[in-house]
């Protein structure tokens, strides 16, 4: 994560909050949780952004629960069928993550998920190219399953979708216009 110092995506990802349970009493830091207490007492649950939580957990002042996007339930669903999970509600700004023993397994799972959904992303993008450039879509007669998939796309997947849609639209437009007709005949 050190290389991402200037990366906007990493900053946004690290700003996500994670539930932490404090193990020790920390005086005068009650404002972190937004509450009105002056101290943090042990076994107190608070939501801390990841960049702050990293140090706190490293220094063993608190334990954290894995946030919902990475829970076992979601993980199993993703392993079964990557395309059916609606990622947009779960993952906020990105998928940058802390490292620990689960980190390797996590990133492998992310990679498999990503590749599994990728083909569908591009299929839908090419289908939507027919409706016009960015902003088309939402017409009647589209059945609900692809639409639900589209609504469940993660932010990065949406960028890919737009890329593929635009290039498909450009190709289509080029194939349809005639090279001979636009030149003037003298």
């Amino acid at each position: 994560m050190d290389n991402d110092y200037f990366s906007i995506d990493a900053i946004l990802a690290e700003n996500q909050k994670v539930q932490c349970k404090f193990k020790q009493r920390i005086p005068e830091m009650g404002h972190l949780g937004g509450g009105s207490e002056r101290d943090i007492t042990p076994l107190n649950k608070r939501q801390i952004p990841i960049w702050l939580a990293y140090i706190i957990i490293y220094s063993d002042w608190a334990d954290f629960d894995i946030p919902r996007p990475f829970s076992n339930k979601v993980r199993n669903a993703l392993r079964a069928e990557p395309r059916s999970v609606r990622l947009s509600n779960l993952v906020g700004a990105g998928t940058g993550w802390l490292g620990d023993e689960q980190g390797v397994e996590m990133s492998e799972m992310l990679v498999t998920t990503f590749k599994g959904r990728l083909v569908d992303v591009i299929d839908q993008a090419q289908h939507f190219a027919a409706l016009g450039p960015v902003g088309g879509g939402g017409g009647g007669g589209i059945d609900s399953a692809p639409q639900m998939f589209r609504e469940g796309l993660d932010t990065t997947e949406r960028e890919l979708f737009v890329l593929a849609q635009e290039s498909a639209w450009r190709m289509k437009k080029w194939y349809e216009e005639s090279s001979g007709g636009t030149k003037r005949v003298s």
Binding site: S107, M171, W174, G180, G181, K183
Partner: protein, 184 residues
Amino acid sequence: MSLPQSLRTSITPPELEFIASQQLIEIIPLIAMEKTAFISGAFGPLQPPRRAKIPLWIAINLKLKKKCHIVAPEWLSVEFLQSRLDEELSEPGYSRLPFRYAEVSKVLLDVASDDIQNTDKIRSLLKDLREARQAKSREGLEELNRSELSLSNLSSMEINEIRPFFVHAMGILTHLHRDASTED
């Protein structure tokens, strides 16, 4: 950069058509022209009815003014394209086609359809070829890894079509994978 965001990732198809139009093509001129100097070189002389090789853009221009007949390149024929299509459907890799076949074939079919035989059959063959190769690209998508991708025998238009998507996807894969490699 002053380019709009959408143009930063790839070249536009009309630009590729422009670049492809510099290829030489054979024509049967109907008018006479002396050896003329252009920026890219000197072409001519044109002495009807002898054939001459000139760049595609000059050929198109003359053809639109009805001053020449274009001789179709040998790959723009039913037999050649049919054999390539069969190869495409039977083998896992991409078959060898001229690098800019999409641009040249579109331009010639638009402008000089009377100089080419069986234009309908050729159009449908080209369309089938394009769809077969696109299907192969889709399958190859599942084997996308983060470090390299080699697809031999893709034409320039096809490369341009899939480049922004593939490059962005590979970048994301790198980003996701880096977390694993930093763990020990």
